[in-house]
């Protein structure tokens, strides 16, 4: 058995390495854009088939965010990002349940690899999300309010808490990305190890657990995105109440 944390490089285009997880990520993105775009163009007043299913996803998630944030405006702004990340991860995870995909090899490595088992994708998305969160925090709370959260000289205790706040922001990056990567990668390793011990039968019950976690983890990621964003926005609401 050989596992590697780094994805296999299939080839290079103008010095830029194309890895197996890279093309899978691009493929999933294009697939989502195509499916949603075509459905949008062929939209009917009375939905049926694929449109019905997609409307169920979009409206259901919008209602969920609206219920938990309690305002239509916040929900409208948060919904596109949260749902996009959710769809990218869930499609990426579920694609690995198509049998036989990893056995296609190319240049001595697997041609397909589940996109989320590459730490780069999860880290970049988490980083991107944290940068958006800082921007949201600045635009809603003002630049002074933003820095006051981290550097506060009003009392020694507040100063220490501000320092912890900085560590907390950095820890969010690790906690979000590690959680997702750990789940996806451990699933693959677990199935491979169990296949080695007792082929065909033993991995089956574990496949159900992995199926459950590959559906729940994207939802948790989207929910965490939502909760962190609401925490970033909340600063302003508290202020406007006190005025």
């Amino acid at each position: 058995m050989d596992f590697s944390l780094a994805p296999h490089i299939l080839g290079t285009i103008a010095g830029f390495p194309i890895t197996n997880t890279f093309w899978v990520t691009i493929f999933i993105s294009l697939l989502l854009i195509l499916v949603f775009g075509i459905t949008r163009l062929k939209m009917r007043d009375v939905p049926r088939g694929l449109q019905l299913f997609l409307e169920l996803i979009v409206e259901g998630s919008h209602n969920l965010i609206k219920e938990s944030s309690g305002s239509d405006k916040v929900a409208n702004r948060l919904h596109p990002f949260a749902l996009t990340v959710f769809l990218l991860f869930i499609v990426g995870n579920l694609l690995s349940f198509i049998p036989g995909l990893p056995s296609v090899t190319f240049h001595g490595g697997s041609f397909y690899r589940t996109a989320t088992t590459d730490y780069n994708l999860v880290l970049i998305l988490a980083m991107f999300f944290l940068i958006i969160m800082q921007i949201v925090s600045i635009t809603t709370g003002g630049i002074l309010g933003y820095f006051k959260k981290f550097i506060n000289f009003s009392s020694p205790l507040n100063f220490m808490l501000g320092l912890f706040e900085i560590i907390g922001e950095a820890a969010k990056l690790v906690s979000i990305s590690f959680r997702f990567f750990g789940n996806a990668f451990a699933g693959e390793v677990l199935v491979a190890v169990l296949l080695f011990i007792f082929p065909y039968i033993l991995p089956l019950p574990f496949m159900f657990i992995i199926l459950l976690s590959s559906i729940v983890q994207p939802a948790v990621f989207a929910l965490l995105v939502m909760i962190y964003m609401q925490m970033a926005i909340m600063v302003k609401e508290e202020k406007s109440k006190s005025h």
């Binding site: 944390l5 690790v174 590690f178 959680r179 750990g182 451990a186 939802a219 948790v220 965490l224």
Partner: protein, 75 residues
């Protein structure tokens, strides 16, 4: 000690100890959620989704040790 043997032992220790905390925490969350659902069955759906979020957050320390163990083994 052989470096390979040390790596395997380290991964085992990291995963084994890392699983204790999340095990206790998730059991507690699950038990409390079931208790709440038994007391108020109408609120079952909202409790269930919140239970999942809380479990995922509790699980994170276990997953950190899992990632460390995997890094030690295959990194």
């Amino acid at each position: 000690m052989d470096i390979e043997a040390a790596r395997v032992i380290a991964a085992g220790i990291a995963m084994g100890f890392g699983a204790i905390g999340p095990g206790i925490g998730e059991g507690y969350i699950g038990g409390k959620a079931l208790e709440a659902m038994g007391r108020n069955p109408e609120a079952g759906n909202t409790i269930f989704t919140r239970m999942f979020v809380a479990m995922a957050v509790t699980e994170s320390t276990g997953i950190y040790s899992l990632v460390i163990a995997l890094l030690v083994l295959f990194g």
